[in-house]
């Protein structure tokens, strides 16, 4: 695993030099508590960072207030931890503090995580690292999609898969202040909801939301995405491995089928 190894080395080196770890996810004080009857409680202090890159032609005067709002909503949605049952994994040995590589077990997992969320603006690509999360703000998005009822919609934002970069239209973000959080939660692994019976949910994406709630399952899925491999819990500290964010953003933003309009001079 060359990439993993390099990231691992980097994070170890920065620990040695007593510098803060960097990346979209940085975790400290990780530990596991096993209740002995199938429930693991995971503890940890996480710092989640989302970098916002302004690529608009005419500037984005409301960007700071949108970023502050986004930071507050992400913080409140991640508060309170999460719970997921039926997690099949290797059996945890509390005495050895290790996962047995031959024995398996079905766990309920309580994510007792504290989150500190940063939403910060960057002005150049070289302020981005391979393991950062990024939200690029553009003038418009030409891409349309068809929902499960056959209706066409314009996209106010697009996210390039789980962990991937997100792009958002400034004017639409101004009208729907939750859009930045919605896109970022795609990055954290959640899918869109199209069921007309679930309009109160943040991930419902057919224009006529009646609310912005996150379900317990969704919160559990995000915690699970954020932690990834449970074996990482054993090391005490962790920062997420590279997802090639810069390269992904470059390909995504230049992909003509997405129809992004932005100031190319700012994308350097």
């Amino acid at each position: 695993m060359p990439t993993d190894l390099i990231d691992e080395l980097k994070s170890n080196i920065s620990l040695l030099q007593n510098q803060p770890l960097s990346g979209g996810i940085v975790a400290k004080n990780l530990r596991i508590s096993d209740n002995g009857s199938g429930e693991l409680t995971l503890y940890g202090d996480f710092t989640i960072t989302l970098k916002v890159l302004d690529l608009t032609t005419n500037g984005a005067p409301d960007l700071n207030s949108l970023m502050t709002f986004t930071q507050q909503v992400i913080t409140s949605k991640l508060r309170g931890g999460g719970y997921k049952s039926g997690i099949n994994f290797l059996k945890y040995n509390a005495v050895k503090k290790a996962f047995d590589k031959d024995k398996t077990w079905t766990y309920s997992i309580r994510y007792n995580f504290n989150f500190s969320v940063n939403v910060i603006q960057i002005n150049m690509l070289n302020q981005l690292r391979g393991n950062d999360f990024v939200l690029a703000v553009v003038d418009s998005i030409g891409h349309q999609f068809t929902d499960q009822y056959g209706k066409r919609h314009y996209s106010g934002g697009l996210t390039n898969g789980k962990g991937g970069p997100a792009v958002i239209t400034y004017d639409i973000w101004k009208k729907n202040r939750y859009l930045g959080v919605h896109e970022f939660f795609h990055t954290l692994g959640l899918d869109d909801i199209e069921d007309h019976g679930k309009k109160e949910r943040l991930m419902y994406h057919l224009d006529d939301n009646t609310g912005q709630s996150i379900s317990d399952t969704e919160r559990g899925d995000m915690m699970h995405f954020i932690m990834g491999d449970l074996r990482r819990m054993l090391k005490g500290n962790y920062s997420n491995v590279s997802n090639n964010t810069i390269q992904l953003l470059r390909i995504f933003i230049n992909n003509k089928t997405n129809g992004f309009k932005y100031n190319k001079a700012k994308f350097r």
């Binding site: 039926g86 590589k101 898969g161 449970l230 590279s242 997802n243």
Partner: protein, 139 residues
């Protein structure tokens, strides 16, 4: 609205309780209704995602790691997406997982071979989509 909720809960009940329809060949699920054949299998990304979430595929097949295999030699989620669909069906639903998901395995409670054909098809498409880096649209 109601029917969707019922469909969702029925889906998870079927998933937990039924022990029938093991290893059926993959095909569209068809029902006979008033003399004509209706294709009822449609792909709903959200519901396919719920199946993957319930099965817990990502506990071991990690995303979004760049590699196809991890240090144990297990495929990452990207690695699963990189397999062709037929190999995936064989790998996931028949041979793999050291029997953990079989009738007597440690993970028998979440036996993936009790999914119906349509659910399997959806799950496979969901996994394949993850590797295609398809943009997730928003409003």
């Amino acid at each position: 609205m109601v029917s969707n909720i019922i469909r969702l809960s029925l889906g998870s009940m079927l998933f937990l309780l039924t022990a029938a329809c093991v290893n059926k060949p993959l095909s569209n699920q068809k029902t006979l209704g008033k003399g004509k054949i209706v294709d009822t299998c449609r792909y709903y990304r959200y519901e396919a995602g719920q199946i993957i979430s319930t099965l817990g595929c990502r506990n071991c097949h990690l995303a979004p790691d760049l590699e196809l295999k991890d240090d144990r030699g297990w495929p990452t989620f990207r690695g699963l997406a990189n397999m062709d669909s037929l190999k995936l069906i064989k790998y996931v639903f028949k041979e793999a997982h050291k029997g953990w998901y079989s009738k007597t395995g440690t993970f028998k409670a979440s036996r993936m071979d009790t999914l119906n054909d349509c659910e399997i098809k959806g799950a496979i498409q969901y996994i394949k989509d993850a590797g295609r880096s398809i943009a997730i649209p928003s409003q």
